[in-house]
Symmetry: C2
Subunit: 396 residues, 2 copies
């Protein structure tokens, strides 16, 4: 049984703040500063030797396996590096190469824009009639036809929190001979995931949201065992080479997931990630999911009871949601500004979404209740209808 009092004690949270934005940037785990200091000591004392002696060179694989456990991957199939956008590009380029006679990347209009932009960039680069086809989230299943080379789906919608059925869509893709790439940005650390069980061909994600690795924490990529040894890396960096330190002139992809490495990995960010993952050693993901749904349901019920004008954007069905709850309101931006000013931190996504991350590692009933109370007061007293909350900035 996961001890959520213990997990909560592992975070350094500011006094007086209810933090409901861990789905955007997780808070500082208490283990991080010590580990960062240790990494700097390694740098100072071992210098270049740290790559071997301190195990820096192995970190992408070692931490890949730590993340792999959280997404239901067998050891040896997940690696850390780069940013999520780069990992999307890698997965897409490799998947298209595995389906050379097909031209369609299928995604949905609810996908995170950067995934779509990276696909657009790749399609433009490739030319040759490649196409990024977008359909509405609910139309994805029907659009998986034999023309489709690969589906690029983010499991949980970054705005509404609506969750796709990974196993079903993947099965459908395989039925028609297509491959599936899953973006787990809002899934990893949010609930149990079974990339292997679900049959995902590729999965990518970031570590700075539910995994709490800090701003700019590196991304991860998973490649299914059956593709690991045949996937061709389009971003053919030296650390994905079979013998990086032989300095051969020609590229030979490394063994399995190693080939998805590119350049020199960010050791200091990885040290933060390593420390952040310690908390997860004490967490059972089924307990996490149960607790998350309990808190989400409480939040939804209380908001609906006391905050008129807010429309639930997140599906009520447990199976169809992740670990965030979103509401729509035409004045969503101003309301969120007022909330933040009152110490309740969520975020806003255009055009009208108020987003609240429900993260049981460091949130409980008290925070949920306090957040709703403040939200209700802001709406009741129309606090949002004042300067400076109504002033919409171009960039939030």
């Amino acid at each position: 049984m996961t001890d959520f009092t213990w997990t909560r004690s592992q975070f350094d949270l500011p006094e007086g703040v209810v933090y409901l934005d861990g789905n955007s940037l997780g808070p500082l785990p208490r283990a991080v500063p010590g580990r960062m200091e240790a990494a700097q000591r390694e740098w100072a004392t071992q210098l270049i030797g740290g790559w071997n002696e301190a195990g820096w060179m192995e970190m992408p694989r070692r931490l890949g396996d730590r993340v792999g456990r959280l997404i239901g991957a067998e050891p040896g199939h997940t690696v850390i590096g780069d940013t999520l956008s780069i990992k999307v590009f890698q997965a897409l380029a490799a998947a298209l190469r595995l389906r050379p006679d097909r031209r369609i990347i299928l995604s949905d209009s609810g996908n995170f824009p950067s995934d779509l932009y990276m696909a657009e960039g790749l399609v433009k680069l490739l030319g040759c009639d490649y196409e990024l086809r977008l359909v509405a989230p609910e139309a994805v299943e029907g659009a998986i036809t034999e023309e489709v080379a690969v589906t690029l789906i983010t499991e949980v919608d970054y705005r509404t929190g609506r969750r796709h059925d990974m196993a079903r869509l993947t099965a459908k893709a395989h039925e028609v001979g297509a491959l599936s790439i899953w973006d787990l940005a809002h899934s990893a650390g949010a609930f149990p995931i079974g990339v292997t069980k679900g049959g995902a061909d590729f999965a990518v994600g970031c570590t700075y949201k539910y995994l709490n690795a800090g701003p700019g924490g590196p991304a991860f990529i998973y490649v299914a065992p059956e593709h690991a040894q045949v996937a061709e890396p389009a971003l053919a960096g030296w650390l994905g080479h079979d013998a990086p330190f032989a300095f051969e002139q020609g590229y030979r992809p490394g063994k399995g997931i190693e080939r998805m490495r590119v350049g020199t990995p960010p050791v200091l960010q990885m040290a933060a990630l390593d420390a952040a993952l310690d908390v997860w050693d004490g967490v059972d993901l089924d307990d996490l999911r149960a607790r998350s749904l309990e808190l989400e349901d409480r939040f939804i019920a209380k908001v609906e009871a006391s905050c008129p004008g807010l429309d639930l954007a997140t599906p009520r069905d447990h199976a169809e949601r992740g670990s965030q709850v979103s509401f729509r309101h035409p004045e969503g931006y101003a309301i969120m500004q007022a909330l933040i000013a009152e110490g309740v931190v969520g975020d806003f996504r255009a055009p009208d979404i108020l987003r609240f991350g429900i993260t049981p590692l460091y949130l409980g009933e008290a925070e949920i209740d306090a957040a709703v109370e403040v939200l209700a007061r802001i709406l009741r007293d129309a606090l949002w209808d004042r300067e400076p909350y109504r002033t919409r900035k171009a960039v939030t």
Copy 2:
């Protein structure tokens, strides 16, 4: 006049070590730990707000300008992010797009393998008769013909330290209508560079060598003003979008150098870079170059006087070298292992290169002399001809 006693006091160097590998990984600047702690405090207290309040979102541009000053770029044309390999890919893809009727990427066999691998990966991705053409370093100028779309040259050879003439090769490229990409991995922080004056179209580099940003420090990319607004980003990530937080479905490249940003930047690594760059505020690059040549010449003269069997691999002509000195020896690997065991840290590059980085920010005559003394003793007493030094590891 640069005060090299002061610069040296800014580094945390281990006792009893002569560190001649700053061309691979710079040592820890004393300002880094405090800055890392501050960045973690920002994370803990400002949480998601740090992206605006702490200026995290602007760091790639702000630090880009700080690096830009060191490579002779005008403000606003350099940005930080990703790894050098990724930046090579970005520059290449953009350059090829600017020369749509040409198919040749020209590079030399002395280029760093990852640059060649990334080019190879891009060529394979593009198909359509694109070609990576490799010639010997001394044959580059003659090979710049009207077929060439872009030259991809690393200014200083990572093994020999031989330096290409940036202005001349760039002029030759322009003469035939080609573009030039310069990899400044072994140049930035090694000597004065004039990317704008030299007419470079693109320049890329890393920050963990002479700039001392720490293991896995992020890379940089410079795009010449005349291309900045027309270069098409192949890696079309959201933070290179003109309005990243509008979450539009289609990609529109950001203004100028902004479009070379891709994903969420590594804030903790950037904090280390920021601190590392402080030292450079007190450094005149002409002083640095003079001091570096002085120490290099001293090192060469002493080695040649007292270390028989070592052949200088670095050109004697000042204009033709960077800030590293390399010697060849058939037993180079074992000799370097013995040197490291004796506290003199350089590195080895296959098949027979002993590499020594001469970095005046923290090295002076005493270290140069001590290094040569140890090297001479190792050779005289054949210390290298013992276990474990002779045991060549697969990965060094």
